[in-house]
């Protein structure tokens, strides 16, 4: 009796797994995907397009200075190993988060910068959302401007993408909302006057007018999680990196806009 029940449950789980693995009907078809840019007003678009009006470039310039500055006990600058970022960092942001073999899990661009600091520069990692970390992330990602987002297809990464997708689909918090309830089902509508948009992270770190500052994708994710009144995750939490990974897989093939401007 007990074993029959277990088998029935197992069969149901397998069936559910098969049903859930292909694209859900609610996921946005590739032809309907639009960057957050497409939802913005003409003024905000103009701000992003003009490199002397886009405040994100201020961070990218800071990042360029940091790239060349020696740091840590090793006395090395990023440029001492990676040389000219314009060559070496081209297209790198388009395939992040990427697998870190030593850690056995995906790391995002900010974490990669900090891993480089601790492993190779023997320097203390930058705090998440610090001006320095945002500046380096913006500078590195800027080198991929226009490059198509190309998530890493490493098989070891796929379970993490699946976890991120589970997170995206799962209802949570006091408002009992999953990311998908807004960003797949209602992206063409407005929430308190703002466009909902499709959760395609094409331009991070972004200069968000509401923040009056540059901010990382994780800052944006934490905003959304707070909005659903769910318990938040700390910066750099594996759950948030997995979500980043899934979001980048949604945006596959779309061009990087970093540093983008968003309202």
């Amino acid at each position: 009796m007990k074993s029959a029940g277990t088998i029935a449950v197992a069969v149901l789980l397998i069936a559910a797994g098969i049903a859930a693995s292909p694209l859900l009907a609610t996921e946005i078809p590739p032809t309907e995907r639009r960057s957050g840019y497409a939802f913005m007003s003409a003024d905000t678009k103009a701000m992003q397009d003009d490199d002397t009006a886009n405040p994100g470039l201020l961070w990218a310039l800071d990042g360029e200075a940091l790239w060349k500055r020696k740091a840590g006990a090793a006395g090395k600058a990023c440029a001492d190993c990676h040389n000219d970022a314009r060559e070496s960092m081209k297209g790198v942001a388009a395939r992040y988060p990427a697998l870190d073999k030593a850690l056995g899990r995906p790391v995002n661009l900010e974490q990669r910068v900090n891993l480089c600091r601790s492993r190779h520069q023997e320097a203390t990692p930058f705090a998440y959302e610090s001006r320095e970390l945002l500046a380096l992330a913006a500078f590195v990602a800027e080198q991929s401007r226009g490059a198509a987002i190309a998530p890493d297809a490493t098989p070891e990464l796929q379970p993490f993408v699946a976890k991120g997708r589970d997170f995206f689909m799962r209802r949570q918090g006091q408002l009992n909302l999953g990311c998908t309830n807004c960003h797949d089902d209602n992206w063409d509508k407005h929430l308190a006057g703002s466009a909902v948009t499709q959760a395609l992270p094409t331009g991070y770190p972004i200069y968000r007018l509401e923040w009056q500052s540059l901010g990382s994708l994780q800052r944006r994710l934490r905003n959304c999680i707070t909005g659903t009144r769910a318990q938040n995750y700390d910066y750099g939490a594996p759950e948030l990196v997995e979500l980043e990974l899934y979001l980048m897989s949604r945006a596959r093939g779309m061009p990087i806009e970093t540093p983008a401007v968003r309202p």
Binding site: T52, A53, P55, L58, D62, A65
Partner: protein, 106 residues
Amino acid sequence: MASALINVPKKAKRGEIIEIKTLMSHIMETGFRHTASGQLVPRDIITSFTCRYNGVEVFRADLFPAIAANPFITFFTVAKESGKFDFEWIGDNGFADAASATITVE
């Protein structure tokens, strides 16, 4: 750290109206906000911006707490002669920054 982004046309015809764009890195803290513990965050803003064209002031602006962070100021002037534009920002807590750009007028 980088502070200003300036956009002045490299070349212009004599008498041409040219657009000048400036973006300055600054937090523009209004002085009206409080911390979580109720303490007032002191005001920290840019209070004045000036632009000189070969030493002659062609544009000046006073800035106030309602202006957003990283103020973007753009204005027009007439290209009269080749030379230099000098930009100066002055603000609270002794903030002072300057930048310049050259133009060739044909």
